[in-house]
């Protein structure tokens, strides 16, 4: 008894007696796993890029075509994520608040973008929104497919479940009493939603936004079919990477990938900080 007590005092603080054992094992496994899946590939990416040297890297970064491609990728992903936040939250609201025939069907449909091969979605959108397609012809002479607007539409499709599925569970937890309390205090429906309910959902909505945005930036399959892929106009960065690869310009491809990685990382970090701040204000949301 005494011996073991001294031993534990002298040993590592992490190894405190716990009713849930296995900390060392699970942490070790997690680190090894993360290394294999994420850290080593990213390290390889940076390694390949480093071969270019600073000047080479800057040349690719400053290249007009790269800048336009990055602008298209991040701009469309941002717009799509914003739209998804509005309509995804609305959809989550309808699914959690109302009981109507077909609710389960709609609920299941939300997950479709997860399951459907993205190329299939891309081809379907391209034919629908093309200037001679069902929907596209209605909007002529305004062109949707083969412009950045087409990209936004594809990314809305891809990102929608991320917003709905992160907001929905938090919405289900909202206490009916809180809404009723707002009503007894004289708040109308509008005030209740915008001053009482939505602030409570902010962290979840931000998470949904971050996920949809990150997914949109990396999306390739569905976008290339509807984008038209015109350099400087509707060419996305992932496509530019593939083009560079096909030219056997591996360093150029990894350089663009590195830039994307850095921008994405910076943006997700900012979103996380905003989240942490809004969470810190009133405990766990």
């Amino acid at each position: 008894m005494t011996a073991s007590a001294t031993a534990s005092k002298a040993g590592w603080r992490v190894k405190q007696p716990s009713i849930i054992p296995g900390f060392g094992l699970t942490l070790g496994f997690s680190l090894a796993y993360l290394s294999l899946i994420i850290l080593i590939p990213i390290a390889g990416l940076l390694w390949r890029t480093a071969e270019l040297g600073w000047s080479g890297f800057l040349a690719i970064l400053m290249d007009e075509r790269t800048i336009r491609a990055l602008y298209v990728s991040f701009g469309t992903a941002f717009a799509a994520a914003l739209i998804n936040v509005v309509f995804g939250t609305l959809l989550a609201w309808v699914l959690t608040r109302y009981r109507f025939p077909g609710r389960r069907l709609i609920d299941a449909m939300v997950d479709l973008p997860f399951a459907l091969p993205t190329a299939v979605a891309g081809i379907a959108f391209a034919s629908l929104y093309a200037p001679n397609g069902w929907v596209g012809s209605l909007f002529m002479p305004f062109r949707i497919a083969y412009t950045p607007y087409g990209i936004v539409i594809a990314l809305i499709f891809i990102g929608l479940p991320f917003v709905v599925r992160t907001v929905q569970p938090i919405m289900e937890e909202i206490d009916r009493e809180v809404e009723e309390a707002a009503a007894t205090l004289g708040a109308n429906r509008f005030q209740t939603i915008f001053q009482v309910l939505l602030p409570g959902l902010t962290p979840a909505i931000l998470t949904g936004f971050a996920l949809a945005f990150a997914r949109g930036v990396g999306e390739y399959g569905s976008v290339i079919f509807i984008a038209g892929n015109i350099p400087y106009v509707s060419e996305i960065a992932p496509l530019l990477i593939v083009i560079r690869l096909e030219e056997f310009n591996y360093a150029g491809a990894t350089a663009i990938a590195t830039i994307m990685l850095l921008i994405s990382f910076a943006m997700l970090l900012v979103i996380n900080l905003i989240q942490a701040w809004s969470r810190g204000r009133y405990g766990n949301a």
Partner: protein
């Protein structure tokens, strides 16, 4: 503000949660709605607030028929069982919310709202906590924030749903006394729901005892305890025992034998009495049974007695016995109620 509830009926999916309920609440009164779960007490409170609407009947606020006014129009203060504080707002923002959301024509200026919030914080003894968030408060503090928030809108009536239900026993007792003082100071018409009879009897001017969607009795604590008007009230409030009896020629008969009690009208029904309203006796005409257990209860001793029932399960009654008088387990106890009531079947 006086409130009149007139023949209210409320159905949920054809199940009647409230059935022909009428109640007059005088201005400045503190009323308790007391009953077991499912008795309709919370439903009645929500109907008064306008959080639900009656299937039938009217609710008057003074002379005004408020039956179909929205909850916003009714201007009631409602304190929810779990407080329902807005967790993303500070204590001060919570309390000021009802003033802030008013249309600009009636909204007080910011400085005035701030002044009012700080007055209310004083009143509920939470000064200095205005910038805390609800999750940084204890249960009793949250309860008082909820109360201050409800009072901020100067409600015509204050409604509390199980106000002490989620608190521990000690805080509960303190808050109970505090609420009584608060009520006496502000003079607001107040209705609260509880399933705790001690709370209702101690706190309320009048207690409304409810069961199965109906009002069983309305009266002061003395009324409902000393003069229960129905078997339900007699057994729900306080301790009691009951035995099936008959009244013939003015004499009360139990199992065909007189028990030394007389009653004016002949009837058959249940004889109700409280453990403390019993005297031990040696006389021939009395109730008698075997003592099966005895337990000490604060300043008294309670004996449990089984009265034989011709081979059926025995009748079980509880009586209070003198603290120091020897009453042995297994011995025969003879007793007679000194105060009782027979409810006809």
């Amino acid at each position: 503000m006086e409130v009149r509830i007139n023949n209210i009926r409320k159905e949920f999916d054809r199940f009647a949660a409230l059935n022909e309920v009428s109640l007059d609440i005088a201005s400045g009164e503190l009323i308790a709605l007391l009953g077991p779960s499912g008795s309709g007490k919370t439903t009645l409170l929500r109907l008064i607030a306008g959080l639900d609407f009656p299937t039938d009947g009217q609710i008057f606020f003074g002379e005004e028929d408020a039956s179909h006014s929205s909850v916003q129009e009714r201007n009631v203060g409602f304190v929810f069982q779990h407080y329902a504080l807005f967790r993303h707002m500070t204590v001060a923002e919570n309390i000021g919310f009802g003033l802030k959301v008013r249309p600009s024509a009636t909204r007080p200026p910011k400085a005035e709202i701030r002044k009012k919030v700080s007055d209310l914080l004083d009143m509920v003894q939470l000064s200095g906590l205005e910038n805390r968030y609800p999750n940084q408060l204890s249960g009793g503090q949250r309860q008082r924030v909820a109360l201050a928030r409800a009072m901020a809108i100067e409600p015509r009536i204050l409604l509390l749903d199980e106000p002490f239900g989620a608190l521990d026993a000690k805080v509960r007792k303190e808050l109970r006394r505090w609420l009584r003082e608060f009520h006496d100071r502000t003079g607001h018409t107040t209705v609260f729901v509880t399933h705790d009879q001690e709370e209702a009897l101690e706190l309320a001017d009048r207690v409304v005892v409810m069961s199965q969607g109906k009002i069983e009795q309305v009266g002061s604590a003395d009324d409902v305890y000393d003069r229960p008007q129905s078997p339900f009230v007699f057994s729900f409030i306080g301790e009691s025992s009951h035995l099936p009896v008959e009244v013939k020629d003015g004499t009360v008969l139990f199992q065909g034998e007189p028990v030394g009690l007389s009653e004016s009208a002949d009837t058959a029904g249940d004889l109700f009495f409280r453990p403390e309203d019993v005297t031990l006796t040696d006389e021939a005409h009395a109730l008698s049974g075997k003592v099966t257990a005895s337990r000490r209860l604060a300043g008294t001793r309670i004996a449990e007695i089984d009265i034989a029932n011709n081979g059926h399960a025995p009748f079980h009654v509880e009586i209070e016995v003198p603290l120091h008088a020897p009453i042995e387990l297994g011995s025969e106890a003879r007793f007679r109620p000194t105060r009782w009531k027979i409810f006809s079947k």
